[in-house]
Symmetry: D2
Subunit: 347 residues, 4 copies
């Protein structure tokens, strides 16, 4: 068993890490830190987990973390991650960061979209973007720092990658119309997650301004070998979990749905967490609720010359915490699916 710490453990990313790690055969959460819930037990804060652990949230003291764990998951907001990561890495820990701090190769992009100065730009070079399906080889090396993707980029890149890599689409411009459950907004109550305000309603938000936009563009550009313009329109959906990215790509030349599906199935044939649906079948987010899987549906609109790909994930699992564990499994040389292969409820 490898001891792991979770920094920022009572947030939704942190508690989902906790939940998944409590069922993991090789990783053991030995330290759960929190600024706001210090001294309370996991079970007090989340009665659903009371019977699985007696752990108590403690203050995030880097020295104690170093003494307690070999791997650290950072489930803290951006800026907090780049504050603590350097010292942990310096002490030899593997850091799996769920925040945005180390996702961009170019600190200027980060600084433009996040509106602040990066304080650890020297780590950007070695940080590995933790989307295993596109970047597994990079994770296999002497990785010390994994920058886990955002939830929208995860679904968007998984949806677009096979077509972009294969040159099936021109990808001058990629449109992502994305829909997320409300847990994506986190655990802190505010107007955007107030039940009567968001229930029974769907709405776009942060149109042209969501910070996951440049991350999608960076990922697509790497795949295409040229600059890709990405357009992301996120929507808030009245459900707790689930994220669906509907991606619109211009076909470079005519292709049928079955050809496109064959391409996707070939590309993902070895992937343990990806399912490509049959022609005519589209994914529902309920199919992947609680799961680390991504389900993908592919269609072609001949008239419009467009490839339409929908990718459904659970924003808290494949979109955040499950993927972080998948990355840790790879980095640590464990079975990539360890702790992530439990069958999930169908309703």
């Amino acid at each position: 068993m490898t001891d792991v710490a979770i920094v920022g453990a009572p947030g939704y990313a942190g508690v989902e890490l906790t939940r998944l790690l409590l069922g993991h055969p090789e990783l053991r959460p030995t330290m759960l830190t929190s600024l706001s819930e210090t001294g309370r037990s996991v079970g007090e804060v989340y009665p659903a987990l009371a019977s699985y652990t007696e752990a108590v949230y403690v203050e995030p003291d880097p020295e104690v973390i170093v003494a307690s764990a070999n791997v650290v998951f950072l489930a803290v907001p951006h800026t907090a991650a780049m504050g603590i990561a350097p010292s942990l890495i310096a002490e030899g820990l593997v850091v799996i960061d769920a925040s945005a701090d180390f996702r961009f190769k170019d600190p200027e992009v980060y600084e433009e979209w996040y509106g602040l100065t990066h304080t650890a730009p020297e780590l950007l070079g070695e940080a590995v973007y933790g989307l295993p399906e596109l970047n597994r080889d990079a994770l296999l090396g002497q990785t010390r720092l994994v920058a886990c993707p955002g939830c929208y980029p995860t679904a968007s890149l998984l949806a677009a990658a096979p077509a972009v890599e294969a040159g099936m689409v021109s990808c001058d411009r990629v449109i992502v119309d994305a829909k997320s459950g409300i847990s994506g907004a986190g655990r802190t109550p505010d107007a955007g997650s107030h039940f009567p305000a968001v229930n029974e309603s769907i709405a776009p938000y942060k149109v042209t301004a969501h910070r996951h936009t440049p991350e999608i563009a960076q990922g697509l550009s790497l795949l295409a070998g040229k600059a890709v313009r990405a357009l992301l329109t996120p929507h808030l959906v009245p459900m707790t979990r689930g994220l669906l990215a509907t991606v619109y790509l211009e076909l470079a030349k005519q292709a049928s749905a079955s050809e496109a599906i064959a391409l996707y199935r070939e590309r993902y044939s070895e992937e343990p967490f990806i399912t490509v649906h049959e022609e005519g079948q589209m994914p529902a987010t309920s199919e992947v609720r609680g799961s680390n899987r991504a389900h993908i549906g592919v269609a072609v609109d001949d008239d419009a010359g467009m490839l339409i790909v929908a990718c459904a994930i659970d924003n808290l699992v494949k979109g955040t915490s499950g993927q972080a564990i998948q990355c840790a499994n790879i980095v640590l040389g464990l079975d990539e699916t360890a702790g992530l292969d439990h069958p999930v409820p169908v309703v």
Copy 2:
């Protein structure tokens, strides 16, 4: 007071017509027909309306309808509408049809998408497409037959029209990513509206194959004065009411969001049911729940050269029954907003 009949009254379109007409100052529902609920009172079937009417559903006998009403709303499935409309029109009634039967100018388009032969093609020429904001003048004549738009076309065309008319967008290809509440599937229980199956989930459906696609294309082509390729991706959202169309249009030349908003506000300045939001504000379907209004938000993605317009409606009101009443008001020379201007709950 003008006496009106509703054919197919217990379905969701029919009962929403009933509800709205019970609050209408000039129209009075005097006959409610049904095949399945004959003999039951409205209040038995819908206890919410028990205190507003003692009406009983009767069989849809055309002779009795003609004797009882001057205006008929058809809230029946396609094919049923074209079966009954000719005889009612021949007897001098005004027919407001909520089905798809008379929406297409070209019967071949109808026959291709609906998979059957049109039995009353002679009426297609005089049927007026009932989207008042785009087609009010046509409704003002000696209209005998109004073909009310589908819910997706209503939101999509309202979202696209100002930009298309003004040539602000090139519109070779218009992408509509649309999201609908589950009442759009109607009153009959099936797997697609079974609570545990659709709750807590979002999914695309009928991708590239939804029958509202050619209707959107027809509407856009008329506006553009050329053939427009429309791409519609509908999604099912876990809420009862509400429809959001997020429309992606390629800018013909650079334009700012404020310029686009100014154009939209000018275009809709006299419209009683349209609100164009400020820059940075996007519509939520909750804003129009129970209302005949359409709320529109406009954004520009400079990088991608795209205009993004979101239009929120209530699928059962502006998307179906409210719009049918709005059309009837116009045809009958009443105040266009009669019966449709009651303030709605904000949550």
Copy 3:
């Protein structure tokens, strides 16, 4: 038209008053006050109402209120109401208070349950408890101050009253198992109304400790002519609106369901807002969503010797703002149903 002010207008009780008054034929909201939204328009805060009013929230200055309105609705938290009511009453205004401050005849009960000293106990004697179905005569006099009931007491008392008044039940102990939508918690986001925390879950809260308990006991005791012990178990239900009280009463002697229903129908035969369902039919909160009505179902368990009565209301309408308007209509000599009789959506 009578000019009315709403104090605390942007809260859920206040905005529901605003919505209903905008459709009221005799009352006109001329002043909307707020501490938190001063200077913003109603439409900015609630886009759903943007097209119905251009009103702007202003500071709650008693002098300006007195100069602007003849009737004042207080939609503020308890303590705030007893702070402002005396001066408004002294100036001759009619005050309709939606808070708890004037509901109790005995200030000690208030002080025990609300944990503070009553600052205007001299008004408790003349305050009229605003549940018209039980207390209409008292409202008809020279009423200056109406204390509107809480949402749970409204449903509970309407459910129990006919049986208690008639002596059909012994009522030593009345059990109310109540279920409320989340809008009952108000407009301010907190953990108890955070979408992911309350969605897909039902839970009791404040068991044996909810402040509406003594209000139910007071009401039942008045009806019974003796002290009644009331037991209230409120539950939070994952829906925005709606409140259902399931009330368990011990039959004083054997009675059939049809006898009980006959009693209820007789008792409420003249009531404009009450429906008593047929034997075997129970009310759903969806039947009264957006409506001022109360729907009641009555059953008898012979074996257990119990009368079971379920009463469904909309917590924001009959449970709060609609009832406040109903009371104002009575006090002002208007049609009791004015502004409250618009047909509501069935789904």
Copy 4:
């Protein structure tokens, strides 16, 4: 590994059994039968399970079942279970029945409430009521047939048992006010599970007439050693999973909440799936979603002399399929928690 068959596998009870058994270390689902989905794979019917099994639904042929499995779970409607169970038992299989057919010791009670003649009354004597917390010893013998409890009885009996056994409550009459998610109505779409009809609404149903009533009475009477009158009022809640029973019991003599909680904790101290909350803490169904646990909260209303106990379970797990597996584990001599101890998501 022990081979097990599931009869009626694509229903909600069946698929939840499938899901749980796919994660079970000792039981292996080798045969999944269905009348309606014969020939389709599990993954076709439920894409969420596609990656976990390639099993295909087959016709329910008893001979093939006997040849394929040692244990059979019956997830079929009542009457179907008593049709097939005798032959399976005769062939030496262990039968775990999730239906109502073998729950009653007295066939007359069954016949009265279910309205038909029992065709295998000879098995009622040996059928063991499968509520391990109350009846574990009986399961440990040479059990051939387990009659798993209904979902409402499971929560109700767990809530009442400690107090009833200890004589803390008089229990002449036990009131159960119960609330269930909509998956309890099963997989077949009908009006009672149609999204727009049940969403945003709570309602009682089958008041005084629910078939779980005599089952609760039977269980309580056994515990009390005398005939107990049980009153069950079930409600439908707009959520997919979860069941909460709020149980009202008359205290035999004064007791404090802390005394009652101490009694409950003592009674359930060795139970692997029961949590008794602290004073002031009540269970939410979200705490046990996807889990086989039952969370219990206990309160005392001194004034009314009542003990109020709320028990939250997942209706499809502890209320049906999880409990069936728990029973099978006991009967087969496996670890009672095998396959049922995976940590569940907190939101």
